[in-house]
């Protein structure tokens, strides 16, 4: 039985997070009324010209650097021709001959926690198409141009991926990168992020088989489905002695791929430079002074202003604590790493896992409800750090912690201030707590010594211990004026009572033996 080696390359189309489209000032909104976000240029009104969106270029440059690419200081736009009802110009403006960036790579953690690398072949700017809606009943085709002309970055990888699970891990990493730098929100359900997968299998690891392209995968699960289905399908064909046809395929809702058209009969796109768009010239720190207009873009500035990327956060979190991969992924996906790392830097004494859990259970749902990022969180990382520290070091009661947290969010007061104002500081000094315990036990010995007699039967013993514990705790609360840290006190009482029980048992044993 042959072993088969799959090889996968991806083309990712990510909508740039800009207010307007790539070449027009029409706004870019999901679910807007059909044809309500259409500028004259988007409708291909003759005589209208493309005006390149500066923000889109900046985001694409940032994306390219985040993907470790070399950014071209001079790139150009080409027209890709094909007739399609929802593409009003009869061509798509893209960057075929001289793309914005090339030769990058992305390192990602595979499911088996191995670091792997995918090479980025190129990154290019291009227009999205409109949408056709078919009304079967009326026999009508309707066209919505709201999406026509929205700016995309197309990220083309080398065929470096060997499995569907690696493809998913890689895509997740790319999504995180784009989200971290803010170039794309990556909501697949809103069509902001779409993937084409090129899949081939070969019996010889050094030879690439005939590939098929599965176009327009627009749900995350679809990536795995499409690749797995295609690998199985191709292996079956090859095992039966057949040949894989180089073709474009689509993914059905049930996760199967179906042929759309064969590549051999495919269209010649008749690429040509777009004469309406001057070269896209970018500048460096050295050349920016010579730029002829104030809108010139300095790529060095963009690169040096890149925010910390997920891979760097992953490294820092791993240095911080031996978290499991899932927890780090969770932190990265929810963009809490920055907040978390700042918190532990401020209060290194806090318990790492308890702090993560507190943020996950309390703060994250709160921010999601309020649609806030961690940056915008009203409770600053230092303040939550103080609260966590005071809680974990028994300076306040655990039950008070939530109260303080809630009040801090509601009032904008710092937790320290709230605790001070309410006098919620507890005494956690063990010597102090022990001396109170001594005092109360002395009292008991004198006033009701029968409480200190522990019956041998288990059930009776439990009842007796319970009774004594609540009596002791109650007395300490009175003596300490409520300042004893409840949980800590309970632990000390339990330890002492356990000791007393043990002592009593020893005495009974030795007296029984001597009698």
């Amino acid at each position: 039985m042959n072993r088969w080696f799959p090889l996968i390359g991806l083309e990712i189309h990510a909508q740039l997070n800009t207010k307007s489209k790539l070449f027009s000032n029409a706004s870019k909104k999901f679910m807007a009324t059909p044809n309500s976000c259409v500028a004259r240029f988007d409708a291909s009104m003759p005589g209208t010209l493309p005006i390149l969106n500066r923000k889109a270029v900046e985001l694409a440059v940032a994306t390219s650097y985040a993907l470790n690419c070399q950014v071209a200081l001079k790139s150009s736009f080409d027209r890709k021709h094909y007739f399609y009802a929802d593409m009003p110009q009869g061509y798509q403006i893209t960057q075929q001959r001289a793309p914005l960036a090339k030769h990058g790579f992305v390192d990602y953690l595979s499911e088996s926690s191995k670091m792997k690398r995918v090479h980025i072949h190129q990154v290019q700017l291009e227009q999205d198409s409109g949408k056709s809606l078919h009304d079967e009943k009326e026999g009508l085709s309707l066209i919505d141009l709201n999406r026509a002309g929205v700016g995309l970055v197309e990220i083309v990888t080398s065929p470096d991926i060997r499995s569907s699970s690696d493809a998913c891990s890689f895509v997740k990493e790319v999504m995180k990168i784009l989200q971290y730098i803010g170039s794309c929100t990556c909501k697949m359900e809103e069509g902001e992020f779409r993937v084409d997968a090129n899949v081939s299998v070969s019996a010889d690891i050094s030879v690439m088989g005939t590939r098929t392209e599965i176009k327009n995968i627009n749900r995350f699960k679809g990536i795995k489905q499409a690749i797995d289905y295609e690998i199985t399908r191709q292996i079956k064909i090859l095992q039966e002695g057949g040949k894989v046809v180089n073709e474009t395929r689509g993914l059905t809702n049930s996760g199967e791929t179906v042929s759309m058209r064969e590549k051999e009969s495919a269209y010649d796109y008749r690429f040509m430079p777009d004469g309406n768009l001057p070269y896209l010239i970018l500048h460096t720190n050295e050349s920016i002074g010579k730029a002829q207009h104030k809108n010139a873009i300095n790529v060095d500035e963009i690169r040096s202003n890149l925010p910390t990327l997920p891979s760097e956060y992953r490294r820092r979190l791993q240095n911080e604590y031996p978290f499991e991969k899932d927890i780090i992924d969770f932190m990265l996906e929810n963009k809490m790493a920055e907040y978390y790392l700042a918190l532990v830097a401020h209060r290194p004494q806090v318990d790492r896992m308890l702090t993560f859990d507190y943020i996950r259970v309390h703060l994250l749902p709160y921010l999601e409800r309020k649609e806030l990022s961690f940056d915008e969180c009203p409770l600053k990382s230092n303040d939550l750090g103080d609260l966590m520290y005071m809680t974990h070091s028994y300076q306040i009661d655990g039950s008070i912690c939530n109260k303080v947290y809630q009040e801090a969010l509601d009032t904008n007061k710092s937790p320290v201030q709230i605790i001070k104002e309410n006098g919620w500081y507890k005494i956690s000094d063990e010597t102090m707590l022990s001396s109170w315990l001594d005092q109360v036990l002395d009292e008991v010995k004198q006033q009701s010594p029968d409480l200190l007699v522990f019956p041998p039967k288990r059930r009776k013993l439990e009842t007796a211990v319970k009774k004594l514990t609540s009596h002791v705790i109650g007395r300490i609360a009175i003596i300490s004026d409520g300042k004893a840290h409840a949980k800590l006190m309970r632990m000390i009482v339990k330890k002492r009572l356990d000791m007393l029980i043990d002592e009593q048992r020893e005495e009974q044993k030795s007296s029984g033996a001597s009698s």
Binding site: R40, A43, S44, M45, P46, G47, T48, L49, P50, I51, L52, R79, H81, F83, A85, P88, Q89, G90, Y91, S141, I143, L145, D268, Y269, R270, F271, M272, P273, D274, G275, N276, L277, P278, Q292, H293
Partner: protein, 517 residues
Amino acid sequence: MASNELFRKTLIQVRELLKHNKISPEDLLTVCQHRMRETSALNYFTNAVEKHDPLINSKIDLPLKGIPFSVKDNFYTEDMPTTCASLMLENHIPEFNATVVEKLHAYGGSMMGKDNMDEFAMGSGGCESQFGPVRNPWNYSELEVEGNDDFYVAGGSSGGSAAAVAAGATFFSIGSDTGGSVRVPAAFCGVVGLKPTYGALSRHGLVPLCNSLDVPGIFTRSVADSAFVFNILKGRDVNDPTTIKQQIPNSRVKPEEDVKGMVIGIPKEHYIDGTHPDIRAAWDKAIQQFSDGGATVIEVSLPNQEYVQPCYRVLCCSDVASNMAKFDGVEFGHRAREGDFTEELYTVSRDYGFNEKVKRRITAGNFFLLEENYERFFGKALSLRRMIRGDYANVFGANSAAPSSGTPPCDVLLTPTTSVTSPLHSRFTTMSDLGDGHEEDHHDLAGMPEMDYHVTGINIAGVPAISVPVGLSKNQYGHDMPIGLHLVAWEQQENKLFRAAKFLEQESNFQTWAENN
């Protein structure tokens, strides 16, 4: 002067009269409307404006207040049909104005109509219009008297723009020039035709032919008028990313210009067989006049001139194939009866909407752009374009990398605009058909050297040029037809162009058709 003869004047002259309240904007409007009726047989408008801008009565002094003008029908005009003289756009009424139209309105100009043209600006005769051919005013009534239904062609593709100004229906008009489409009709109709530097005027709202070559052009009856309109229209437009970013200096034309110290280049490649002897003589005479006027006249070389036409055809047809793709009957253009399939809708709509010439260029363009052909055709054309532009940079001394050739850098170049004067329509159609059956296709793609040999290289180089009428040539039918000479300068040096053109104008003392009819 009788106000009904105002149409004989130039823009600058009527502006003076308006300024001193000798005439009113209404006078001008009335005269031009009358003139339009008198000369309507020339067919220079596709659509005439019925209602006129109330701005002409405003108190504000605007540079073009009340001055009648017209615009080629491939410039977008709000609420007014913009047809490109094609069935494809026969009912197309834009909702906005092209930038140049917007500017002319803002400066108080009064639009009289949309100029007839070759369909989608493809043609050099002004004859390929769904509205019928434009007729050259020169000798039109003479032929009519002779009982001949023939006429002289206005030239193309901006034939209507040239004829309207020549006839005196408007004081200036706006055309578009991709490979000579302003200068050829200007020469044929005996008016001044300016093709500015690429990017000096906005293309926003101009239905494109070839994006990297198109430039709006200006027709006037004098050089000073041309400079006046150019100053108004030039400049950066945020809606056109290919407009020049730097400020272009205003061009001033003195009442009398001299050419002392100017260097006039005569490109030797422009001496070609088939040039009409009268045109050759007019050229020689102008050379003498420049020389006598104190200019240094030198022979220069544009060695890649022979590649201009092939380069132009490939660039132009490829852009046509691409730019015309939007006219598919879905968002834009004539829509045929609803086809059963989208593909069928495209085919039927496009087959009906485009004329043969447009279809041939689309087909050729798509052929040039096929993946297997791209390098052989489009790639080569791009290289040729750099070489041709390099020739002009060399003679104008703008190529800092090139070693000095020993000759001084030229200020302007001087050639004829066309090698022939305007042909009769009957003759023009056989010229373009050539009577060789299928050769028609070949001929269209090879161009018509009599008309475009001298002018097309200028678009490829992106530099400015102007055609100035300098005299008349009596043809074999005994008809006097105008001769145009062609001046070329380096990019953004329109001021040098106007200086030399003004000199030529005052030396030749040419009388426009409107002045005598």
